[in-house]
Symmetry: C2
Subunit: 221 residues, 2 copies
DNA sequence: ATCGTGTCATTGTGATCACAAAAACAATTG
DNA sequence: CAATTGTTTTTGTGATCACAATGACACGAT
């Protein structure tokens, strides 16, 4: 058993732990786009030496979750209309497929926990809990995608989520989450009916609607 | 002007140079899949200290061009039928779109140089020059994709190419490139006719045919 | 011969230091 | 007061060292 583990190999190292912490912050809104991120600053904050931070940051730069400017300064990338458009396209191109591939691997227990997650999402939305909404929404999608047994595609999608995470947070923080609709019930029904085409449509619809809301609110041209 | 450059920021650093060298090797067949890659070994070979190699390797791991096992050993990942299938899907999902987006940015000069590249490809194929074929084929595709002005999508595709590069090389080295067909002329004609749908089809066809050849030869189940 | 066992070399990881470039700040000038 | 210059601090980069874990290898027992 010397093969790399699915989520991540070489677990237990410091830079792995740092990587996860930074990743969480990026996904769920710990960083504000444009604000510079310093190695020593993070190191002190996370109480580790600058070294593992360097490796974690370098990795996040490669995943396009952070951006290295030619001043050698590192920031969370700002969103542009063009970039946002590319992200929407990539999500539409990959995520419905991932969901469809996950379909055969669902069982009763997984569907139940997916419904529980969805209820959490609704709860967060109604109490306008932006971070909670993002966390549970992320969990909902990646619980599905993770069942697809398609690591390569999953990695692509994970990288994409890292890229619009901070921006999404910004929008929800400004405009609230209360007037979002829950599109996930349609997906859940499709899963229970084992309806691949329906699931694809539901995921695509969820992406289109959620991203349209964000785009219209924050990227008005 | 403090924005990051398109291809890469912080150019001129040692780890950037090392990164490019390793990337070249991976794309065009310097490494054999499964063979372990050591930091100190590469450092000595490239005549740099282990430090920049560490950063470059970490970055390539994040791009899934290298794989970090839980023994903490780094290798070029082996190809599997499942992974290959995911790669084909992702290429079909992204590359035709990139080509279509590049279409408005073509001019006479670019079309000419694209034809020149295509002639080089044919030359390499007929003399069974596997590495030359891969280099020119890569240049052909990324000259098109690079015109799309879609950095986010381009990065996804670049990562995918890094993942099947070493495997492709293995196949061509074993079975030769002589019996490949040139599918690029169809694409070139579509570009000249400004025919987006036709270009999409041509790129998709090129992917399907090339990958099918590789898959059938090397991944017979 | 084959399997265990102990030794030794090699590896990735993390810490620390040195340095040059960049940014932040202060003093000075118009 | 605004803009500019000069100084100081902070930053990323690269080098080197220490260390624990892993792999390679030779030796010996069954």
């Amino acid at each position: 058993m010397s093969k790399a583990a699915s989520p991540e190999a070489a677990a237990g190292t410091t830079h792995e732990r740092v990587y996860r912490q930074l990743r969480e912050r990026i996904l769920f809104g710990g960083f504000r786009p444009g604000r510079p991120v310093t190695l020593r600053g993070l190191a002190e904050e996370l109480e580790v030496s600058p070294m593992p931070v360097r490796e974690a940051v370098r990795r996040l730069i490669a995943e396009r979750a952070l951006e290295l400017h030619d001043n050698r300064r590192v920031t969370v990338p700002a969103m542009s209309k063009e970039r946002f458009d590319e992200i929407i396209f990539a999500r539409h191109a990959l995520e419905p497929e991932l969901a469809a591939r996950a379909l055969p691997h669902f069982d009763r227990a997984r569907i139940v926990s997916l419904r529980v997650i969805d209820e959490d999402i609704d709860a967060c939305m109604s109490r306008d809990d932006a971070e909670g909404y993002m966390r549970t929404n992320h969990r909902f999608h990646f619980m599905i995608y993770g069942l697809a047994e398609a690591e390569t595609l999953l990695a692509l999608v994970a990288s994409i989520w890292l890229q619009f995470g901070p921006f999404m947070r910004l929008v929800y923080g400004r405009f609230g989450t209360a007037n979002l609709q829950d599109q996930h019930l349609v997906a859940l029904d499709a899963i229970e009916r084992n309806d691949a085409a329906g699931l694809r449509r539901a995921i695509a619809e969820d992406i289109g609607q959620g991203m349209r809301f964000i785009g219209e609110e924050a990227l008005a041209e």
